[in-house]
Amino acid sequence: MFRVLLILCLPLLPVFSKTIDFSEEKYIEALGKTFTKKGKISFLKNKIEIVYSHDDSILTYNGEYLITKKNNKITKMDLAKKPSVKMFFLLFEAIYFNKKHVLQTYFSSKKAGGITQLVPNETISQYIEGVRFKKSAEKLDFLDIKLSNKDRIHIEETY
């Protein structure tokens, strides 16, 4: 009986998940260099999983922890103690899933020419300087994040 139920439920699983290909361009001020990477982001129920191309590490964000699995070694980061990392994932998740109340809590926003600009409030201004993004038909065209330490991240959803 249980097996029958499991088989019947299997087709429902993709409803909770969506995987996108992405490319990431990261400018690191300390090095004065830009690094480019590609990978896949899976939005699963209650978690986000990130896998880079040509890299065997898997990052899993579940809202409370960031779990990194590399070479069968697992490290767990408590995000309650790492507000800067937590903010980054919150922002990413809120933009992708249109969580307006989250964005309103931390940013003021204005939209022009289809591009949304987010200005952080004092709570997170010590981490993030500004955000720009564009979405069309549930696709993330681009997301630019300027950090307070002058680092910049540009993420695009690719096909």
């Binding site: 990431e24 690094f35 960031l66 969580k99």
Partner: protein, 702 residues
């Protein structure tokens, strides 16, 4: 001649009322337990602490983590933020303080010497490089301390869901700061908040300020209830037993006058007077009724006689007891004793000297239709038995000096407070104060606490003291090799030129702090007289250790009161014994042969209270009430030992009923302080009734 004197009593009342209103004496009355503590640095310190952000926080929690709960809390946040004296507390820290901490972190935090000795510059930089380039999320580098040799400050974990702070395993949570300062402002704000946040079982709302408002309301309504019951009993007494309207009106006026004059005097002497003094004082004022009864029943108001010796002796004995007690350093008792002396003196003067001039109709004595006499108890045997009971009671008497146990027991609010403290796990923390003669010494003391327990929350410890500055500067000046290696290896690995220029820089100048600057950083520092104080919190298990430092002060009202009690207990006991000795001496002088009988009025009520003490922990108000009951008992002992006739007994009975109206009704109070006084008063009154009815008198004429 007779006509104007009839209005003197009312004129005195009117003048007292006018003075009371014009001096606004009632505004000095306080429902805060703190008003019981003596004025001084400790009281100021606790008062200041109650004004800090810790005490003025408002916590709001909405059950559940779903969208509906989130929308509900966001709506409530908006409405609460719109209130004039409410502001939402966000996760952000004071930006100036943050900047200062960042600038001076190399001098304020401790350097891990062991770690410093093991640094492999190239390896450390390589790890940093890998982290930055391989991580999906941004990696923040500390330019001042890239090798993390500074002791990292404890980070309070912030749990977020959907970007909102949460109370784990419950729901969403918001913090607010309340800026109300006076009780009036607290009350207005409380009403506004309660209008926005209705009773909803899925919402938890708490602020320590709610105790001020709710307890003050509860105490006031309780006091009103007590005054109403007392007034009804007194009215019944007069209407049913005396049936003399002018006497009733005059007596109530006199009692009012005496209470008002005592209130005016006490509030002129002290800036803040506990409402307990006022209630207790009003109750004591009613003792004076027995002066009126004895004068009235023995026809002093008809024949214009002036000096009823028994009443004068009774008055002097009672006032002597209060006079001796007024020398205590215990503020509450001192104020009550002063209040009692003034109010009794005013009442006695009016009852003894003005009433005979006013003149009232003769008391019509109607004997009760009882033929059987119940006075079968032998006073000597009862005295012996009572003395044995009093001595035995020392075996079981135990004391409770926790001042909080005297306050109104606000169960509902305590439950909500417990809900939050258990969720935050803050119930294991205790607050304390640190003191020093200068800001720099205060910072150094804060650092000593932090070194004793790294989990201690002492915001001031993150500033730079002269000592920590010089110590760290010395170490930093010896780090040239590491700084050079850092510059070289960073260049080799590809870091930008000059990126680590600020790392381990020994050239920062020490700038001493001022109180204004520290306060601007959002850290509470107060100056009381010539001493600076700041506050901190520490795990309960560490508390005993840190309060042993001579620069740490306890902020616990319970502890403070206990210390204060210990200090004043000796003098209070000495004064109590002295008061008893004076009473015994006066009794001997007044009653002579009938002294054993008179002493029974001391020992028997004492023994009954001793039995009661077997079931309870005796508090300070039980003790004080006991002294009062003894003082009243002695009045009656004097009257009866002089003249134990039916009229005297009738006068005493009426006085006892009125004393019950004054003190005994406190037994109906919800406030433990008043209830404690009411129980002892009721036991005392019943004991005296027993003596009056069942004990053979010395000169029994009835």
């Amino acid at each position: 001649m007779k006509k104007p004197i009839k209005y003197v009593n009312f004129a005195l009342f009117a003048i007292s009322l006018l003075l009371l209103v014009s001096l606004q004496s009632y505004t000095h009355l306080s429902t805060s337990l703190l008003s019981i503590l003596p004025n001084g640095e400790v009281k100021e310190l606790i008062k200041n602490f109650n004004q800090t952000q810790n005490s003025k926080v408002l916590l709001l929690a909405v059950k559940g983590f779903d969208d509906e709960a989130l929308k509900k809390i966001i709506k409530l946040e908006k409405e609460l933020n719109a209130l004039h004296l409410v502001s939402q507390k966000s996760m952000k820290q004071n930006s100036e303080f943050q900047q200062h901490r960042e600038d001076y972190k190399l001098y304020s935090q401790e350097i891990d010497i062991e770690k410093l000795g093991k640094i492999d510059v190239r390896n450390e930089l390589q790890m940093l490089y890998t982290d930055m380039t391989s991580s999906f999320f941004p990696v923040l580098i500390d330019k001042n301390d890239p090798f993390k040799i500074l002791s990292s400050p404890q980070v309070t974990p912030i749990v977020l869901k959907n970007g909102h702070t949460v109370l784990e395993k419950y729901g969403y949570l918001s913090y607010f700061l309340l800026q109300s300062n006076s009780l009036k402002e607290h009350q207005t704000l409380y009403r506004q908040i309660k209008t926005i946040v209705n009773n909803d079982k899925n919402i938890q709302l708490f602020s320590p300020l709610f105790y001020y408002v709710e307890n003050s309301q509860a105490i006031k309504s309780d006091v009103n209830k007590i005054i109403l019951i007392a007034s009804m009993i007194l009215l019944l007494l007069y209407l049913l037993l005396l049936r003399d309207a002018p006497l009733l009106l005059n007596t109530l006026t006199t009692l009012g006058t005496s209470a008002m004059i005592a209130t005016i005097l006490i509030t002129q002497l002290y800036n803040e007077v506990s409402i307990f003094v006022f209630v207790f004082g009003i109750s004591i004022s009613t003792i004076a009724i027995d002066y009126m009864f004895h004068h009235y029943i023995h026809d002093f108001y008809v024949k214009e006689k002036y000096l009823n010796k028994e009443v004068l002796f009774g008055f002097l004995t009672t006032v002597s007891a209060f006079f001796i007690l007024s020398f205590t350093s215990f503020l509450l008792i001192k104020q009550i004793a002063l209040f009692a002396m003034v109010s009794l003196l005013v009442s006695y003067m009016i009852f003894a000297f003005i009433y005979p001039k006013i003149g009232f109709r003769k008391f019509s004595y109607k004997p009760y239709p009882i033929t059987h006499h119940f006075n079968f108890l032998n006073p000597n045997k009862l005295f012996l038995l009572s003395s044995v009971l009093v001595l035995s009671s020392f075996a079981w008497i135990h004391f409770d000096f926790n001042l909080k146990n005297l306050d109104y027991d606000n169960q509902k609010l305590k439950k909500t407070e417990k809900f939050f403290t258990e969720h935050f796990n803050t119930n294991k923390y205790l607050s304390f104060a640190i003191k020093a003669n200068s800001i720099d010494a205060l910072i150094e003391n804060a650092k000593v606490i932090k070194r004793s327990d790294v989990t201690a929350q002492v915001p001031l410890s993150s500033l730079v003291s002269k000592h920590s500055y010089e110590q760290n500067k010395n170490i930093l000046q010896n780090m040239d090799t590491i700084r050079n290696a850092l510059a070289y290896e960073a260049k080799q690995l590809g870091f930008k030129e000059g990126f680590f220029d600020d790392a381990y820089d020994p050239s920062k100048i020490f700038v001493p702090y001022t109180q204004e600057l520290v306060n601007a950083y959002g850290i509470d520092v107060v100056k009381i007289k010539d001493t600076y104080y700041t506050y901190g919190r520490i795990d309960k298990s560490m508390y005993t250790k840190i309060v042993s430092y001579d620069f740490v002060e306890s902020l616990s009202l319970k502890e403070r009161f206990e210390m204060y009690m210990k200090d004043s207990m000796d003098s209070l006991l000495k004064l109590g014994v002295l008061a008893l000795l004076v009473i015994v001496l006066l009794l001997y002088l007044i009653t002579k042969d009938a002294m054993a009988y008179a002493l029974l009025f001391l020992v028997f009520p004492l023994s009954m209270v001793g039995i009661y003490a077997y079931f309870i922990a005796v508090n300070i108000l039980h003790l004080f009430m006991l002294f009062v009951i003894l003082a009243i008992g002695i009045d009656y002992a004097i009257y009866l030992s002089k003249k134990s006739d039916a009229l005297t007994k009738r006068a005493i009975s009426y006085s006892l009923v009125s004393t019950f109206a004054g003190f005994g009704v406190l037994i109906f109070s919800q406030i433990n302080a008043l209830f404690s006084m009411g129980t002892v008063a009721s036991i005392g009154i019943i004991s005296i009734f027993i003596l009056l009815i069942f004990v053979k008198g010395v000169a029994d004429e009835s």
